[in-house]
C-alpha cells in the first residue's frame, strides 16, 4: 500500500497544503486589515488610550509586519488573541468550535452519503419510471430550496405546532443547551444540512450506476445466474462509488458553506457561527483564524479523498 511513490505524493500534497494555507491566510489577513474600523471603534476609547490599546495588540504596526508576527505565532499553534473578548486566546476557542462543527458536519456527511447513494441506486434501477422521476426531483429540491427555508420551517413545526414530538427541546429561537448539544438537538440541523447536499450525491450515483449497469461484466454476472441484489450491490455499486468519492471534496466544502447558515439559525456554537459573529464585530484575528482552519480542513479532506481513490480503485497509483 504505502509505496515510496505514495509517500512522496503525500509529502508533495502536504507541501501544497502549507503553501495554500500561507496564501489564503495572507490574502485574508491583508484584506480584513484594510477594512475600515476595528473592534475597538465601538468602545468609548479615544486618543492616547486608543493608541495604547492598538499598540498592545500590535495594530499600530504595518500590515506586513503584523502578518509576519501572525505567521510566526501560528507556526507555534498560537492564532493570536480576540479583540472582542479582550485577550482571549483564539486557538483553544477555535479548536472547541471546530469539534462542534465537526460533530454537526460529520453527521450531515453520513446522512448525505447514505441518503444520496440509496436514492441514486434506486433511481438507476428503476430508470425512467415514476420512482426515478420522484427521486431525481427530490434531489433537485434538495439543492434548490435554501437550507434556511427548511431550517425555519423545522423550527416552526417543532417549536410551535408539534412541541410534544421533541418534548420541547427545539425551542424558538433555537439554541444548543450544551457545547455539543443533545441527540435531538443535533438531529434536526444535521438532517437539514445533509439533505441539502444529498442531491448532488443522488445525481452522481444515479449517473454512475446507469453507466456501470451497461457494462459487459454486469451482463456476465447476470448470465451466470446471480441475483439482482448481488449484482447491484457487489458488482455495480462498488464501481459506481468511485465518482461519488471524487465529489467528497466539494461535498465537504458544501457542508461547510451550509453549516455557516445552519449554525446561525440553530444557535450552534461552531466555527460558522463564530465566523459571522467575528465579521460583524470586526474581530479580525478570529476571522483570519477561522478562515485558515477551514482551508486546512478542506486541504486535508481533499488529500484523504485522493488517497481513498487508490483504495477503491487499485489501478490508480501515485
Amino acid at each position: 500500500m504505502l509505496t515510496r511513490g505514495t509517500l512522496i505524493y503525500i509529502a508533495q500534497r502536504l507541501a501544497l497544503i502549507v503553501f495554500t494555507l500561507i496564501a489564503v491566510s495572507f490574502l485574508v489577513f491583508v484584506t480584513v486589515h484594510t477594512l475600515p474600523g476595528n473592534a475597538f471603534e465601538s468602545d468609548r476609547v479615544h486618543g492616547r488610550a486608543l493608541q495604547l490599546l492598538l499598540h498592545e495588540y500590535g495594530l499600530d504596526q504595518p500590515v506586513l509586519v503584523q502578518y509576519w508576527n501572525f505567521l510566526l505565532n501560528a507556526l507555534h499553534g498560537n492564532l493570536g488573541v480576540s479583540f472582542q473578548i479582550r485577550g482571549l486566546p483564539i486557538t483553544p476557542l477555535v479548536m472547541r468550535e471546530l469539534s462542534v462543527s465537526a460533530e454537526l458536519g460529520g453527521t450531515a456527511l453520513l446522512i448525505t452519503i447514505g441518503l444520496g447513494t440509496t436514492f441514486g441506486v434506486i433511481a438507476a434501477m428503476r430508470q425512467n419510471s415514476w420512482v426515478d422521476y420522484t427521486l431525481t426531483s427530490i434531489a433537485v429540491v434538495g439543492y434548490s430550496v435554501p437550507s434556511f427555508v427548511f431550517a425555519g420551517l423545522g423550527v416552526l413545526i417543532f417549536s410551535y405546532f408539534l412541541p410534544s414530538v421533541t418534548n420541547g427541546v427545539i425551542s424558538y429561537p433555537a439554541i444548543w443547551t450544551g457545547t455539543y448539544g443533545t441527540l435531538v438537538e443535533l438531529s434536526l440541523p444535521a438532517i437539514i444540512l445533509g439533505f441539502y447536499t444529498s442531491g448532488q450525491v443522488t445525481r452522481i450515483t444515479r449517473a454512475a450506476m446507469l453507466e456501470v449497469l451497461q457494462q459487459d461484466y454486469i451482463r456476465t454476472a447476470r448470465a451466470k445466474g446471480l441475483k439482482t441484489r448481488v449484482v447491484t450491490i457487489r458488482h455495480a455499486l462498488r464501481n459506481a462509488l468511485i465518482p461519488v468519492i471524487s465529489i467528497l471534496g466539494p461535498l465537504v466544502i458544501s457542508i461547510i458553506t451550509g453549516s455557516v447558515i445552519i449554525e446561525n439559525i440553530f444557535g450552534i456554537p461552531g466555527l460558522g457561527k463564530e465566523f459571522v459573529e467575528s465579521i460583524l464585530a470586526a474581530d479580525y484575528n478570529v476571522t483570519v483564524a477561522v478562515f485558515t482552519v477551514y482551508a486546512l480542513l478542506i486541504g486535508i479532506a481533499n488529500l484523504i479523498v485522493d488517497l481513498l481513490y487508490t483504495v477503491v480503485d487499485p489501478r490508480i497509483r501515485y
Partner: protein, 302 residues
C-alpha cells in the same frame, strides 16, 4: 459507453436511404427544448417573474421602503395588503416585488460577470497552454480549496455594500467552473482540422479564439451560465439572511426571510412568502438549466 450508437440522421428503407430534412444546431436544440414540459413550465414561470420585476420598476402597491402611517405591524394577509405587513408596517407585496427585482438582477448580473471572466480566462489558458495555463490552473485550484461563501462575505465587505459589489463578490466564488469548462473546450477544439485550416489561411490568435473556438463551444457555455444564476441568487439570499447582504431599506428575499424568521411566532406568513418565492425560482432555474443542457449539450446527457 458500450452501446452501439444508432444512426439518427439517416433511415434505411427498401428504396434506399432517406435523409431527414437538415436542421441547424440551434433549431434542433430548441425543438428538443420544446418537448421538455418541465423546462417549458419553468421558462413560463421565469418570464412571469421577469414581468413582475419590470412592473416593480414603475409601480408597486406601496413604496417598499416606506413605513406606512396608520398601519398595523405583523399584519396577516388582508384586502389592503395581500401578503400582510412586516415588523415595521411596510407592505410585504411591494417588498417581495422589489426582492424579485434584486434576485433577478443579482442572478443575471453575476452570470454575465462570470461569463466574461470565465470565457476570457478559460480561452487564454486552453489556447496558449504552457506556463500561462499552469498559473491559471493553480489559481483555479486555490479558489476551489476555500469555501465560496466565506470568500464572498470577506470580499463583499472589502468592496463595500451595494448591488454591483455583491455581484462581483459572488462572481469571485463561482467563476472557476466556467473557466475550467471553457479551458477544456479550447483545449480540444484547437486540435481540430478547421482550426488548423484557419491558421493556415492566416487567421490571428484573436480571430481563432473568438471567431472559431468560442462559437463552437457556445452550447455548454450557455448551459453553465444558466446554472450560475440560481447559485448567485441563493448566495445573495444567504448573505442577506445573515445580515451581510443588500443594505436596507432595499428588500431582498433573503433579508425578508431573515426578518420573517425573527417574527416567526407572531406572523409565520412573513417567512413563508420569501421561502416559496426563492424555492420556486431556484427550482425553475435549475429545471431550465437541465432542459437546456439536454437540448444543447447532448453529450452531457445523463
Amino acid at each position: 459507453m458500450a452501446t452501439i450508437a444508432t444512426p439518427v440522421f439517416e433511415q434505411e428503407y427498401a428504396g434506399g436511404t432517406v435523409a431527414r430534412a437538415q436542421v441547424g444546431l440551434w433549431r434542433d436544440g430548441f425543438r428538443r427544448l420544446r418537448r421538455n414540459r418541465l423546462a417549458l413550465a419553468a421558462l413560463v414561470y421565469l418570464i412571469l417573474l421577469f414581468l413582475v420585476a419590470i412592473v416593480a420598476i414603475f409601480w408597486t402597491p406601496y413604496n417598499p421602503a416606506t413605513i406606512l402611517p396608520n398601519t398595523l405591524t405583523y399584519l396577516g394577509p388582508s384586502a389592503g395588503h395581500p401578503l400582510g405587513t412586516d415588523d415595521l408596517g411596510r407592505d410585504l407585496l411591494s417588498r417581495m416585488m422589489q426582492g424579485a427585482q434584486i434576485s433577478l438582477i443579482v442572478g443575471l448580473g453575476t452570470s454575465l460577470v462570470v461569463l466574461t471572466i470565465g470565457v476570457v480566462v478559460g480561452l487564454i489558458a486552453g489556447y496558449f497552454r504552457g506556463w500561462v495555463d499552469t498559473v491559471i490552473s493553480v489559481f483555479i485550484n486555490i479558489f476551489y480549496g476555500i469555501p465560496g461563501i466565506l470568500v464572498a462575505i470577506v470580499l463583499y465587505l472589502v468592496l463595500g455594500r451595494g448591488l454591483g459589489n455583491i455581484m462581483l463578490a459572488i462572481s469571485a466564488t463561482v467563476w472557476m467552473d466556467m473557466a475550467r469548462l471553457v479551458r477544456g473546450q479550447a483545449f480540444s477544439i484547437r486540435e481540430r482540422e478547421f482550426i488548423e485550416a484557419a491558421r493556415a489561411s492566416g487567421a490571428k490568435s484573436g480571430k481563432i479564439l473568438f471567431g472559431h473556438i468560442l462559437p463552437n463551444s457556445l452550447g455548454p457555455i450557455i448551459v453553465q451560465a444558466t446554472f450560475v444564476i440560481p447559485i448567485a441568487i441563493l448566495t445573495e439570499a444567504f448573505l442577506s439572511y445573515l445580515g451581510l447582504g443588500i443594505p436596507s431599506p432595499l428588500a431582498s428575499w433573503g433579508s425578508i426571510a431573515s426578518e420573517g424568521y425573527a417574527a416567526l411566532p407572531l406572523e409565520p406568513y412573513m417567512m413563508l412568502w420569501p421561502a416559496i418565492a426563492l424555492s420556486v425560482t431556484l427550482l425553475a432555474f435549475n429545471f431550465l438549466g437541465d432542459g437546456l443542457r439536454d437540448a444543447f449539450d447532448p453529450r452531457q446527457r445523463r
